[in-house]
Amino acid sequence: MKMEETTSMDILLKGIWKENPVFVQVLGMCPVLAVTNSVINSIVMGIATTFVLVMSSFFVSLFRKLIPRQVRIASYIMIIATFVTVAEYIIQAVSLEVHKSLGAFISLIVVNCIILGRAEAFASKHPVKEAVMDALGMGAGFTFAVLSLGVVRELLGNGTLAGIPIFGPGFEPWSIMILPGGAFFVLGAWLLFFNWLRERAKKQQERVVV
């Protein structure tokens, strides 16, 4: 990959589609599975993760020449943990209800592999502007992924979308979709779908070459 030629727009878009952290890199699975039982939870989780990702990438990139290599992981975790604490207090202040339903999973953003992964693989090697763009892209990709799970699970499991009933009163909810098992099934199905899309694109490309 030639870094000089990629514009910041490319860096942003890469996170959303080509290197989507959830569907392509299979990182940060725990929050993806745990909090996606409703659309509201998914959105809050997506925004909170994006916030932490952008802030920590900014600071990791800013301090990249100051942090000694031996203690870099520990320093990154410190930076991340600080912003997760900030995010947690903000969510608690804005909506106590959402804070309660997300529970420990807000604190658990600290151990989301996407954030540490981006800090180590991208932000620590690139200037501030690119690092922030990359973090924004990855955050958007993550939000897109949790949202696509949340929409399916709430729609099928509850018959609602962000609390608004979609189907008539005759709809029998698939309660398995809100339960833990459903999370695995929906994520598995999405991965399958993306595998199929990529497989198809590859075949089409081959056909063009031939």
């Binding site: 299979v26 520990a74 943990a81 420990a104 833990p180 098992g181 695995f184 099934f185 598995g188 991965l191």
Partner: protein
């Protein structure tokens, strides 16, 4: 919630609300290391040990933070304790079993970012467990993690030998199997209550 009996805490953490299959904690190593039975066992043991140590320190830190009234330091101090415990286990395994050390590879230091451990430390604080309850809780959580990991490794070893369409292979299949396992674990609901 402090009135729970010790056996209930253990069964609850290990089976009813299994850490991996119904609380979704520790999914990364669950998907990563569950390929072979040989590494799944030691990995489970290492995680259980780190959980046990972290549980002791998390309890102590929580008491200190209560005294100095600095709850916002909770997350940062817990993660430091866990990282040091992982370092300890890593040195221990490297010294006593270099073969195992190589087999676990990158997943050993990654125990630090295993949400099961931080989750366990946060849960025991949130639920207000006393010292003994916290220890039992950490052991139950560790047992639950190991159980899920070993069952999954057994299934995946068998799956390797069967004829599967190429598109499904890999993570998608593992997730589907985990979903079925998770449904099976729902059968434990009400146990020990």
């Amino acid at each position: 919630m402090t009135g729970e009996s010790l056996s209930f805490i253990f069964i609850n953490a290990a089976l009813i609300n299994n850490f991996v299959l119904s609380s979704f904690l520790g999914i990364c190593p669950f998907l990563g290391v569950s390929g072979k039975l040989k590494t799944a066992g030691p990995m489970g043991a290492a995680v259980t040990f780190v959980m046990f140590i972290s549980s002791i320190f998390a309890y102590a830190i929580h008491q200190i933070l209560l005294i100095i009234e600095a709850p916002y330091l909770q997350l940062i101090s817990y993660i430091v304790v866990i990282a040091s415990a992982v370092q300890l286990v890593e040195m221990f395994i490297k010294k006593f079993s270099p073969v195992l050390y190589r087999a676990l590879g990158i997943y050993l230091p990654l125990i630090t970012t295993n949400c099961a451990i931080l989750g366990m430390a946060l849960f025991q604080t949130n639920r207000g467990y006393d010292f003994i309850q916290s220890l039992i809780f950490s052991l139950g959580a560790g047992a639950g993690f190991s159980l899920a990991l070993i069952i999954m490794a057994g299934i995946r070893e068998a799956l390797d030998l069967s004829d599967i369409p190429g598109l499904v292979k890999g993570t998608a299949l593992t997730l589907m199997v985990a979903g079925i396992l998770s449904m099976a674990f729902m059968g434990f609901a009400g146990l020990g209550g």
